[in-house]
C-alpha cells in the first residue's frame, strides 16, 4: 500500500519539476529543477527494483550531465535579463500543440491491447549480476561500439570547443 502512495507522490513531484524546468524564468533555476526531476526518476527506478540503474542514473545525470549544463550556463553568463522570449501568440500555440499531442498519445494508448505480465515475477533482474550477464552475453557488440561513440563524441567536443578552427 505504501508503495502505491510513494508512486503517486513521486509521479506528482516528477511532473511538477519537469513543468518548472520549462516555465521557470532563469536558466540556472531550470537546471536545478531538472536535477530534482532526475532524482525523483531515480526514486521511480528504486521502486521498480532497478537499484543499480538508479545509482547509475544519479551518477551520470545528476553528477556529469547537469554539471556540464551548469558549467556552460555560468560560462555564457545567462540570467533572467538576457533570456529571450517568444511572443505570447507563439507561446499559446505551443501549449495548444503540446496539449493536442498529449490527447493523441493518450487516445492511442486507450485503444491498445493489454500485454500479459510475466506470471512469475522476478525481483532480481535489476541487480548488477543479472544485468552484467545480459550485457556481456547478448549485447557485447553494441557495448563495444558505444565505447567508440563516446571516443568520437570526446574528440568532436574538443575540436568544436577550440578557439579557432583553421
Amino acid at each position: 500500500m505504501i508503495t502505491t502512495y510513494l508512486f503517486y507522490f513521486l509521479s506528482f513531484l516528477t511532473i511538477m519539476f519537469a513543468l518548472m524546468v520549462v516555465f521557470s524564468k532563469s536558466p540556472v533555476h531550470s537546471v536545478l529543477y531538472l536535477v530534482m526531476a532526475f532524482f525523483t526518476i531515480a526514486g521511480h527506478y528504486v521502486l521498480l527494483n532497478a537499484q543499480f540503474l538508479a545509482a547509475v542514473h544519479v551518477i551520470v545525470y545528476a553528477g556529469a550531465i547537469m554539471v556540464l549544463f551548469l558549467f556552460v550556463i555560468m560560462l555564457l553568463n545567462l540570467n533572467k535579463e538576457t533570456e529571450p522570449h517568444k511572443s505570447p501568440w507563439l507561446k499559446f500555440s505551443a501549449v495548444i500543440a503540446a496539449g493536442l499531442l498529449l490527447v493523441v498519445l493518450v487516445g492511442s494508448l486507450k485503444g491498445a491491447t493489454n500485454i500479459m505480465a510475466a506470471n512469475n515475477f522476478d525481483a532480481n533482474i535489476g541487480l548488477i549480476e543479472n544485468l552484467g550477464k545480459t550485457l556481456f552475453q547478448d549485447f557485447l557488440l553494441p557495448f563495444e561500439i558505444s565505447s567508440i561513440l563516446l571516443l568520437a563524441a570526446m574528440v568532436g567536443a574538443v575540436l568544436l570547443g577550440k578557439k579557432s578552427i583553421k
Binding site: T3, T4, F7, S11, T14, I15, A18, V21, V22, P27, S30, L34, I41, H44, L48, N49, A50, L53, V56, H57, V60, Y61, A64, I65, L68, F69, L75, L76, L78, T82, E83, P84, A94, A97, A98, G99, L101, L102, L105, L109, I115, A117, A118, F121, I125, G126, L131, T134, L135, D138, S146, L149, L150, A152, A153, M154, G156, A157, L160, G161
Partner: protein
C-alpha cells in the same frame, strides 16, 4: 515489494506520456537553446522510465540494458551539443536559436 506488482502498467504509460509531452512543450515554448536541450533530456528520461517499467513488468533484464545504451548516447549528445552551443554563442553573442535562421526557407 516492487511497484510494478501493485501499480498498473497503465499508470506508468500515462506518467511517461505526460513527461514526454512536457519535453515537447519545452522545445516548442522556449527560445533559449540550453532549455531546449534540457527538454530533450526530459524526453529521453520519459522513454528510459517506460523501458525500465516494462522490463520490470515482463521480468526481462534486456530493457534495462537498453537504458544503459540510451544513457551513453545521451552523455555523448550533451557533450557535443553543448560544444556546438558554445561555438554558436561565440559567433552570435546569444543563446537564442531564432538567430540561426539562415537555413530557413
Amino acid at each position: 515489494m516492487s511497484a510494478i506488482q501493485v501499480v498498473p502498467i497503465e499508470w506508468y504509460l500515462l506518467l511517461c506520456t505526460v513527461l514526454f509531452t512536457i519535453g515537447v512543450l519545452g522545445v516548442l515554448f522556449r527560445r533559449n537553446a540550453i532549455i531546449i536541450f534540457m527538454s530533450i533530456e526530459i524526453m529521453l528520461n520519459a522513454v528510459n522510465l517506460l523501458l525500465v517499467a516494462f522490463s520490470s513488468y515482463l521480468s526481462d533484464s534486456k530493457g534495462q540494458v537498453f537504458v544503459f545504451f540510451i544513457m551513453a548516447v545521451a552523455a555523448a549528445e550533451v557533450a557535443v551539443g553543448l560544444a556546438i552551443l558554445m561555438m554558436v554563442y561565440r559567433n552570435t553573442k546569444s543563446s537564442d536559436i531564432d538567430m540561426l535562421n539562415k537555413l530557413k526557407w
